[in-house]
């Protein structure tokens, strides 16, 4: 299985990345090499093997639903490059 520049453009869109034509060419070549290397996994029989998501012996971690101290508005907005009326500002979402 090999991927094309078109695949790379599609994945870039999903990943919210805008790639230059040079980047698209480089990534196509490099991702093919990496995925070809990853193909070695397909030769391994994993029938009946449970997937490992993480290694800890815990599942859900719950806490009481109580009100606690949280960030102030000022703190939350400290690193935002644009804000208005105490909110993060984004460009128009709807045309």
């Amino acid at each position: 299985m090999s991927i094309t520049v078109k695949d790379v453009q599609h994945v870039a869109r999903l990943a919210r990345l805008h790639l230059s034509p040079e980047e698209e060419a480089t990534f196509t070549e490099q991702m093919n090499a990496i995925l070809q290397y990853a193909e070695k996994l397909s030769g391994l029989n994993t029938e009946g093997v449970q997937p490992t998501t993480h290694v800890l012996h815990v599942s859900n971690v719950m806490r009481e639903d109580v009100v606690k101290e949280s960030l102030t508005l000022e703190e939350a907005l400290l690193n935002a490059s644009e804000e208005e009326d105490g909110q993060f500002k984004v460009p128009a979402v709807l045309e």
């Binding site: 994945v11 990345l17 805008h18 996994l41």
Partner: protein, 485 residues
């Protein structure tokens, strides 16, 4: 004589006895950075004024006779993917060039509670992705043993700062070898604790199921000291383990009689430099002389570890790095388009090539139609890799091998070929996939460059790992060698 020759416990006693002050230690660290860091490039941000103010406060505390924290007065560097309130944290990415954290990571808070002095933030591969430190947006760190060579990565700044004597200890993070491999290349002690032992709260996430914070130090005893201060359950991290924290220092008995060591044949085989193999075999001889016994074993799925890791870590990264959208923090490139353009332009401008490559790989592996073949398959192989270790640990106390297949390579020699670069991590990655602890300690030199010995233990058995490392260190002097800068 330099204060950098002393162990942390010795400095602790000297401070107590009035033979040194916190301000002296802090100035020694700051002046070393002024003298050396133009060459090494380990620091991204210095906390000069903050460190001096903290030092004065701590000296007052010393004079007043108040009780002192475990790391009292010791100047430290923190890898720049660990957030520090009010102290710029960049992850060595252009994306976060101006980021001012509004809270402390749990480990940063613990250093403060332990009365350590934060000297500054350390260079790394961007978002901890890389094994050479060449992926930093602020230029590569250079290896103190040979400035033309890489320090390893991604915690290259942490390893180089400790090796060159700029700080007394440092914190790093390890996702696939990012503490141990640079420790090996720079000739220092680097410990990756068991997954869940040290809180990840405030560690900018790369691959959440693999990331773990740990210390880089000059000696094993120092490593135990720092681990003692940072280990422990934290409700802020939902993957933090509720385990009792032992006294790591009391584990350093020097006694390893009867210890059973497994040496995987895959760790000394093809791809491992002959000089590295010889150095590791001599280290095993030292352990043997101390009463340990070693046997060759097999970890049969080792050859699948790198492929498994790059699929899983990249997938987790592609999800974790979705938060960098140009809205709440970091780079914002608004060229008058809509919201989607804001995302596309900000991310494309802010991330470097390796970060983009991994986001692309991860997005592909998780995308519709490929999920089962790549992501799920890799999760299953992860189980097999973990079972390899479980099997070996039924009969043996530790697993030992080299930390990396080679010594530090030349800057620029592998940047064109990501796959070759990824294969440098073949001996460290399986440990992260299995979630178990491992330390890299200096075990000699090959052509003037440090070689690291990797000691891997059972989950939450840092005590045995450190005991073996310490016993070895007591009978060798590799850790006392210093680079000439």
């Amino acid at each position: 004589m330099s204060l950098f020759q002393y162990r942390l416990s010795e400095l602790h006693n000297m401070l107590h006895a009035g033979q040194a002050s916190v301000s002296e230690l802090t100035e020694e660290s700051l002046s070393a950075i002024t003298r050396l860091d133009d060459k090494v490039n380990a620091f991204l941000t210095l906390n000069e004024e903050g460190a001096r103010a903290d030092a004065r406060t701590l000296d007052d505390k010393l004079a007043s006779g108040a009780s002192r924290g475990l790391l009292f007065g010791l100047p430290a560097g923190i890898k720049d993917n660990i957030v520090t309130k009010g102290l710029r944290t960049t992850c060595a990415s252009r994306f976060l060039d101006n980021y001012q954290p509004i809270y402390d990571a749990t480990v940063a808070a613990k250093l403060r509670q332990a009365d350590a002095v934060t000297i500054g933030k350390l260079n790394m591969d961007e978002f901890a992705m890389g094994g050479s430190n060449e992926n930093s947006a602020y230029g590569p760190v250079r290896n103190p043993w040979d400035l033309e060579r890489v320090p390893g990565g991604s915690s290259g700044g942490s390893a180089a700062a400790v090796a060159s004597g700029e700080v007394f200890f440092a914190l790093g993070s390890d996702t696939g070898g990012s503490i141990r491999q640079p420790a090996s290349y720079c000739g220092v002690v680097g410990l990756k604790p068991t997954y869940g032992l040290v809180s990840r709260y405030g560690l900018v996430a790369f691959a959440s199921s693999l990331d773990q914070i740990g210390p880089l130090t000059r000696t094993v005893e120092d490593s135990a000291y720092v681990l003692q201060a940072i280990a422990g359950y934290d409700a802020q991290d939902s993957t933090s383990a509720k385990v009792d924290i032992p006294d790591y220092l009391s584990a350093l008995t020097g006694d390893i009689k009867g210890l059973r060591i497994a040496v995987p044949k895959e760790y000394l085989g093809e791809g491992v430099d002959a000089s590295v193999r010889e150095t590791v075999l001599s280290a095993l001889k030292v352990l043997e002389d101390l009463g340990a016994v070693w046997e060759e074993v097999s970890l049969p799925h080792t050859e699948y570890a790198v492929a498994t890791y790059y699929l899983l870590a990249s997938s987790e990264a592609s999800s974790n790095l979705a938060r960098f959208d140009g809205v709440r923090y970091g780079v914002r490139v608004d060229e008058g388009g809509g919201l989607l353009d804001l995302y596309l332009n900000s991310r494309s401008r802010g991330f470097g090539p390796e970060v983009k490559r991994r986001i692309m790989l991860g997005t592909y592996a998780l995308s519709s139609g490929y999920y089962d073949a790549y992501y799920l398959k890799a999760q299953k192989v992860r189980t097999l890799i973990k079972q390899d270790f479980d099997e070996v640990f039924k009969k043996y106390d530790v697993v030992i091998g080299p930390t990396a297949p080679t010594t530090a390579f030349k800057l620029g020699s592998q940047t064109e070929d990501p796959l070759t670069m990824y294969l440098n991590d073949i001996l460290t990655i399986p440990v992260n996939l299995a979630g178990i602890p491992a330390v890299s300690i200096p075990c000699g030199f090959a052509e003037g460059l440090p070689v690291g010995l990797q000691i891997i233990g059972k989950e939450f058995d840092e005590s045995t790992v450190l005991r073996v490392a310490h016993a070895y260190e007591q009978h060798t002097d590799h850790h006392k060698q210093r680079p000439q800068l």
